[in-house]
């Protein structure tokens, strides 16, 4: 039987090839995701190790409430002297390491990438982490150095001008050196180095530092020194050994990345799931076409076990091959993913590809398992072939009772899937992972349920999809539709593969449209100002000077800012926003649950207004006092004086006064600055005036009106959606591969029929049309099912978010475009099978047996 299995593979090359390819692609995605994230993790390890070389003890600001990154509040440089006096300290130096932005003469960012750009200060030996490859470190306030990869990308060299936009404004520097961080490649970020006083000035941190590096005296261990230093510094400063600091910072990034890895693996899983449909179909068709062969083997005395073994062995061999090839392909895939990220402006560090043995094991096991599992049902069906099948043309038996049980099972699975999803969404599970698992598992169960039930949907759906074709092209359309419903199971699985991919696409699309609409609505409702200033990257802070500049512009009535910070309430991170009570009423209109606009206008420094949903979840009422731990490690109590429905999640959990944020949280720069114009002012003219004034002096600040703000938000969401589309492309490609294969195999079965059609006068073009329509109808069936499922899931998942102001919007236009694209994909998938069908020689096709 082994021989039969192996020869079988050799004979059915197309099927073997497609099976291997489907597994290969899925496995490559999984392996590639691991390789990429492992590589990035290792690179960050290397990067931080490098950065803390020569530093025995590192001092930085506490990260309380700062889980979502960003600049930490600086601290006074007088602590350097405090540290120097600690016994066992050989050397201590303060430094600046802050976000900045490199801009051109017009104030526009040099590169559009999301990669962070930093401003750092020159450090004395042994703390300097940068290696100069050309030139020298800056010595005067007018000099700067830049990392060589940025210099390369932006075509900058020694003697050129680099404009840096910091919190204090834009300033030009002469480049005097090129540097890099150790041996590692760019690290994905750019760094400009300035002298310490200049770095402090441009980042608006005069007299302040972001960190202190300490070298221990000979014989003093870093651990001991750390303890000694920790005793003399306030709690808002974190004291770590260099090794600890490197490990912690690398770990922070790894934690962020682990989410990213899960996202990638989910998309890899989708690709594999689609692949499994394809393999199931290929094996089913193969088994159906080999009935005679199986019958013959059975007459020769082959047992059911041997028949089963033969098919399973074939699957095993193909799975092994596909998975085996998938692992090395995964390494290539990792580079492809990296390139995709780059094209989306996310430059990730790479210090050498990392292939863990875990990657290889997981990829192999998953690949082989998926192949075997997909082939199992067809293989079992093969065992039901009776020896009589050898003697006559027979179809695989499909009894009615089995059909009924099967349908009941499909419906049950669908119900369980939806149930699990709802439980995950509405079950009140606090554990986000468990909830996500339930929703994900429910989604997969639902997909399986629908695809098992879908053979019954094929006929009505084919009628719908085929109707226009029939009206348009008569017989060809009619035949194409009839062909799709001939083997409803086969069509259903083929369409099911596309359904999965499309369901995810539609889910993402619909959900994103919902977010866009909700944000748009929130802007309409809350945003009373006429203009808003924000960072060009959409999330970083802007210089307070920009707001002052705007306030001076003629035609402006009020300028009021919104600032953000992190904090902790009861060991849980909270997001805190701050407003200026005197002017906030002019620019923001809130949806009050308890309180009124006056509550905010008269907000005192010891008071807070909180988000209604957060209040309810934490049983907080108006009048309660909430102690908030700030990044400065102070425990500040605030009295709740009102609650608002924060629909756009604009304000975070708590709102305090701007003064509080500055004093207790160490945040001095706003994220959004709203501008209200004088009545009758020419909005466009004032906007242009502010734009010009602000851009020139501060760079990286966009001046947007309400519509532009909405467009801007939408654009960011769309970029994320585009990224998901790219990741889903592979699953779609695999499902199209499924259409190609199924069509080719079906055509093979219908050779004689095609011969007849040709004999009675069907032209090659008509044959091609026939195949193409069949493909289009199949694709549309999958697309319709996928669209319906995707929309249902988007609607379900958005239910719990409705409280937070999420409004589902159905992107009807986009969905129609997606359907048209699916039809087009069907046309593409049909190209090769159609050509093959049209090429059939009439005589050979008609050849009697």
């Amino acid at each position: 039987m082994t021989k039969v299995a192996i020869r079988g593979i050799a004979q059915r090359k197309l099927r073997a090839f497609v099976t291997v390819l489907a597994i290969l692609l899925g496995v490559a995605f999984i392996a590639g995701s691991y390789v990429l994230t492992d590589t990035i993790n290792r690179s960050f390890d290397d990067l931080f190790d490098e950065a803390y070389q020569g530093t025995d003890v590192a001092i930085s600001s506490s990260t309380t409430g700062q889980s979502d990154g960003g600049d930490l509040p600086p601290f006074s440089e007088r602590y350097v002297n405090v540290v120097r006096r600690v016994p066992g300290v050989n050397k201590a130096a303060g430094g600046i390491f802050s976000l900045g932005r490199f801009v051109d003469a017009q104030g526009e960012p040099l590169s559009n990438s999301f990669a962070p750009e930093f401003v750092s200060s020159v450090a004395p030996e042994p703390f300097e982490t940068l290696t100069y490859t050309e030139g020298r470190p800056p010595r005067t306030a007018q000099e700067a150095s830049i990392d060589e990869s940025t210099a390369d990308r932006e075509d900058l060299g020694i003697g050129d001008t680099l404009r840096i936009a910091g919190q204090a404004g834009v300033k030009p520097y002469r480049i005097v050196g090129l540097q890099r961080l150790g041996n590692t490649s760019s690290g994905g970020s750019s760094t400009a180095q300035l002298t310490l006083p200049e770095a402090q000035a441009i980042t608006d941190k005069r007299g302040e530092l972001d960190g202190i590096s300490v070298q221990a005296a000979p014989g003093v261990s870093p651990r001991v020194l750390r303890q000694r230093i920790d005793r003399v510094l306030p709690p808002r400063l974190v004291v770590e050994t260099g090794t600890e600091a490197a490990a912690r910072q690398a770990q922070d990034i790894k934690d962020d990345l682990s989410f990213f890895r899960v996202v990638l693996l989910v998309f890899g899983g989708v690709a594999l799931l689609v692949g499994s449909f394809l393999i199931f179909n290929i094996f089913s068709i193969t088994v159906a076409q080999r009935i005679r062969e199986f019958g013959m083997l059975r007459t020769l005395g082959a047992s059911r076990r041997q028949i089963l073994g033969g098919t399973v062995l074939e699957a095993l061999a193909l799975g092994l091959l596909g998975a085996g090839l998938g692992v090395p392909a995964g390494i290539g895939f990792a580079s492809a993913l990296n390139a995709i990220f780059k094209s989306f402006g996310i430059d990730l560090p790479n210090t050498g590809t990392v292939i863990e043995s875990r990657t290889i094991i997981v990829a192999l096991v998953v690949g082989i398992f998926v192949t075997l599992a997909s082939a199992l049902v067809p293989a079992v069906r093969a065992t039901r072939v009776s020896p009589m099948a050898a003697l006559r043309e027979a179809e695989l038996p499909e009894s009615r009772t089995r059909g009924r049980i099967f349908t009941a099972f499909a419906v049950l699975l669908f119900a369980i899937g939806i149930g699990m999803t709802c439980l995950g969404l509405f079950g009140g599970t606090d554990d986000a992972n468990a909830a996500a698992g339930l929703v994900g598992g429910g989604a997969v169960a639902t997909l399986f349920g629908v695809s098992m039930f879908s053979p019954r949907l094929v006929r009505p759906l084919a009628s719908v999809c085929g109707w226009p074709l029939e009206k348009l092209r008569g017989l060809t359309g009619r035949l194409a539709r009839e062909n799709t419903v001939r083997k409803p199971g086969r069509t259903a699985v083929t369409a099911g593969a596309l359904m999965i991919g499309l369901a995810v696409v539609v889910f993402v699309t619909t959900f994103a449209a919902g977010i866009s609409a909700s944000v748009g609505n929130a802007i309409d409702r809350n945003f009373q100002g006429d203009l808003v200033l924000q960072n060009t990257d959409g999330f970083s802070t802007i210089s307070p000077g920009a707001g002052r500049e705007a306030a001076r512009t003629p035609g402006v009535q009020t300028v009021s800012s919104l600032s953000f910070a992190g904090g902790e309430v009861g060991a849980k991170d909270v997001r805190v926003s701050a407003v200026d009570p005197r002017s906030v009423a002019d620019v923001l209109s809130l949806d009050w649950e308890q309180g009124s606009p006056e509550t905010l206008s008269s907000l005192r420094n010891d008071q807070t207004v909180i988000d209604d949903a957060w209040a309810k979840n934490n049983d907080i009422d108006v009048g309660d006092r909430i102690p908030v731990r700030t990044p400065l490690e102070r425990l500040v109590p605030y009295t709740v004086v009102g609650t608002v429905k924060d629909n756009a999640d604009l304000l975070g959990n708590l709102v305090v006064t701007e003064e509080q944020l500055r004093r207790e949280f160490g945040v001095r720069s706003p994220s959004l600055t709203f501008v209200k114009l004088e009545p009758g002012a020419n909005a466009d003219a004032v906007q242009d005036r502010i734009k010009e004034a602000v851009k020139q002096r501060y760079g990286t600040v966009d001046t947007l009106n309400q519509q532009e703000l909405k467009d801007n938000q939408e654009e960011q969401i769309n970029q994320l959606v585009a990224f998901f589309y790219v990741l889903l492309a592979l699953a779609i490609v695999i499902s199209l591969l499924g259409i190609v294969t199924t069509l080719a195999l079906s055509i093979h079965e219908r050779t004689r029929e095609l011969g007849l059609l040709r004999a009675v006068g069907m032209s090659r073009r008509q044959v091609r049309t026939l195949v193409r329509y069949e493909s289009v109808i199949t694709a549309l069936i999958g697309a319709i099912l996928g669209t319906v499922l995707g929309v249902i899931f988007a609607a379900l998942v958005s239910r719990p978010l409705a409280d937070e102001g999420f409004e589902l919007a159905y992107p009807v236009g986009t969905l129609i475009v997606l359907l048209l694209l699916a039809a087009l994909a069907g046309v593409l998938a049909a190209i090769w099978p159609a050509r093959r069908a049209a090429k059939l020689d009439v005589l050979e096709a008609l050849a009697y047996e």
Binding site: L475, E482, R752, E753, L757, A759, V760, L846
Partner: protein
């Protein structure tokens, strides 16, 4: 007499070199309009090859075929397709119906492919003639072999082709059904003036024809008017 198909010095060679076989070795023959001709011959005599070439399904290695005034050996695939659609009717041994279409839809298939409206009266007459009035909405799988072949006959006649080619039309039928199908072909010639060329190895079938052509080793060895089945059997014995 008016010739509907004329073949001149047809040769058809399969394979190359030592393995080459001449399926047709200089066949010159013509068929009259409005008559029922049968081609017989032992296996390998070239009778099927001859029919395939006459019907434009295969090309001769040399020689010409003129069908209803057109030299079909010079046509490309597109023109041949049109020719098959407009001027030829086919009946095969395996009924070769489209399983997803009803009996009536199968009958009008050549017209549907051509995008032409069927002549309702003619279709009705055909369906009545082949005796499938009560079966018109049935699918092939719901019809007996004889009924299926009668559908195929009606399909071959529906476009009023210049000539109908039948390749072993009774090869897969029991004797009763065979009789019905042959009777139909006979009637189409007698009543509608149809020209029919039939390849068969069944002497009974050949006895329905007006004319009998016997091939052996790629050459016409006998050309005469067909007699009774017994006469045909005798003839075959003497010639083949």
């Amino acid at each position: 007499m008016d010739q509907i198909v004329t073949a001149h010095d047809l040769r058809r060679r399969f394979g190359e070199g030592d393995a080459a076989v001449d399926a047709l070795d200089g066949v010159t023959v013509s068929f009259e309009r409005g008559r029922f001709s049968a081609i017989m011959g032992p296996s390998g005599s070239g009778k099927s090859t001859l029919m395939h070439i006459l019907a434009g399904l295969d090309r001769p290695t040399s020689g010409t075929v003129e069908l209803d005034g057109v030299d079909i050996t010079a046509l490309d695939d597109g023109d041949l397709t049109k020719l098959r659609r407009d001027k030829l009717g086919f009946i095969f041994q395996f009924f070769n119906l489209i399983p997803v279409l009803t009996a009536e839809e199968n009958i009008v298939l050549p017209l549907s492919i051509a995008g032409r409206k069927p002549d309702e009266e003619w279709v009705e007459q055909l369906i009545e003639t082949v005796g499938l009035g009560d079966r018109r909405t049935h699918r092939p799988s719901e019809l007996s072999g004889g009924q299926q072949q009668r559908v195929a006959v009606a399909r071959a006649l529906v476009s009023r082709p210049a000539v109908v080619f039948a390749d072993e039309p009774t090869g897969n039928l029991d004797s009763t059904s065979s009789g019905e199908v042959l009777h139909l072909l006979r009637r189409s010639v007698d009543e509608f003036g149809q020209s029919v060329v039939m390849v068969t190895h069944d002497p009974e079938a050949a006895s329905y024809a007006d004319r009998l052509l016997i091939l052996r080793d790629g050459q016409v060895v006998h050309d005469c008017s067909a007699g009774s089945a017994e006469e045909v059997i005798e003839l075959m014995k003497s010639v083949a």
